[in-house]
Homo-oligomer: 195 residues x 2
DNA sequence: AGGGTAACCGAACGATCGGTCGGGACAAGA
DNA sequence: TCTTGTCCCGACCGATCGTTCGGTTACCCT
């Protein structure tokens, strides 16, 4: 353990506060004044720790993306039948989404108004396409029901997973609770998708 | 038919433009300047047709909510077994979501920063709860699989439906295309949910 | 022809936006 | 004790925000 000494802000601890406010009010709806109130320091002090509002967004989004892409490198996502790899990615994506909730929420709500936001959208598309490829392969291997279009199924699957950010609140956010939700997601999705 | 004479703006035709820009840039990320450029009239002219930015949001959200609540009054949503009524509501919600895409999209992205937005959130919760009640009844009647929590299933179902706004684009938006997507949604959801 | 009004405009309003600036308080190292 | 650097502040910047205002068209009705 390294943490509990600080009573002053670090870029990361400030990010924790900022991301929370961003999610409550929306990024565009959040002013530096809002952030300063929430952090308990003056507006100008924020600039001692980070370059500005957009850097906070960039840091948050980068963190979310790092966690998501790491899933695709896990052994269970690389080895085995495509359908099993897909189910693993589904479950793990749901888990990461809950573990990194505020960061992923921010990522999922980006509009593309600035360079940072467009970069976020591009990286998200990358991730989606890699999962879509997995789903396509699973379909080609005959492990998915044939009467649902692959692209449509991909989108609905992600829709279901990503919607977790709309209601999941990690109040008593134990690992077990997250695994339970991820299990339900995988069950509902694949009981409908599997042959 | 009454319409096709106007080459000037009405509150409704202006709303069409505004809602599109709101969805591209986000409501908070859209300035009246943006709207005036998109509408091709000056910023001040907008105030000739509507009271202001927030009225545009209120009109858009009201339209979305009207269409959604109308579903619950349809005969197929009132009569019959709960599970069948639920499937009807699911299918119709998906259809309405596509038919009224920009308006519903706006509704689903509200944050609660103003009175108008908080009103929107409250009405949304009403709708969700009515559907949740339907799902609960279907479960009580033994028509839904028992190994998925009812509240969780409701949320995932809505998550799947609502995620349509993230990717559906009504370019060749015929009624048939919409029915096809709604059919896929219902199939995926209920092939996983039904006993 | 003339009066009324719907539709529009440029200019400007006070407020707030994200960000800058110079400096004060305080602790550590010399 | 005197620096040095971290952390923070109030005051302020130009730009942009949503909105208002006074006025100019252009068309309809008589």
């Amino acid at each position: 353990m390294t943490m509990p000494k600080r009573d002053t802000y670090t870029p990361d601890s400030l990010l924790t506060v900022a991301v929370q406010v961003f999610n409550e009010r929306g990024y565009d709806g959040t002013s530096m004044e809002h952030l300063s109130k929430a952090a308990g320091i003056s507006k100008s002090s924020i600039y001692h720790h980070v370059r500005g509002k957009e850097e906070l967004l960039r840091r948050a989004i980068a963190r979310a993306l790092d966690h998501l892409f790491a899933i695709l490198d896990e052994p269970e996502a690389v080895n085995g039948r495509a359908v099993d790899r897909l189910e693993h990615v589904t479950r793990r994506t749901a888990e990461v989404l809950m573990a990194e909730l505020p960061y992923v929420t921010l990522l999922l709500r980006v509009h593309g108004n600035t360079d940072t936001e467009r970069w976020a959208l591009a990286r998200r598309r990358e991730f989606d396409q890699q999962v879509a490829a997995l789903l396509k392969q699973a379909a080609a291997e005959g492990d998915l029901r044939a009467d649902v279009d692959v692209r449509l199924a991909t989108r609905l699957l992600f829709g279901m997973i990503n919607s977790i950010v709309e209601w999941y609140r990690p109040e008593r956010g134990t690992l077990a609770a997250r695994e339970e939700v991820a299990e339900a997601v995988a069950k509902m999705a694949f009981a409908g998708l599997r042959v």
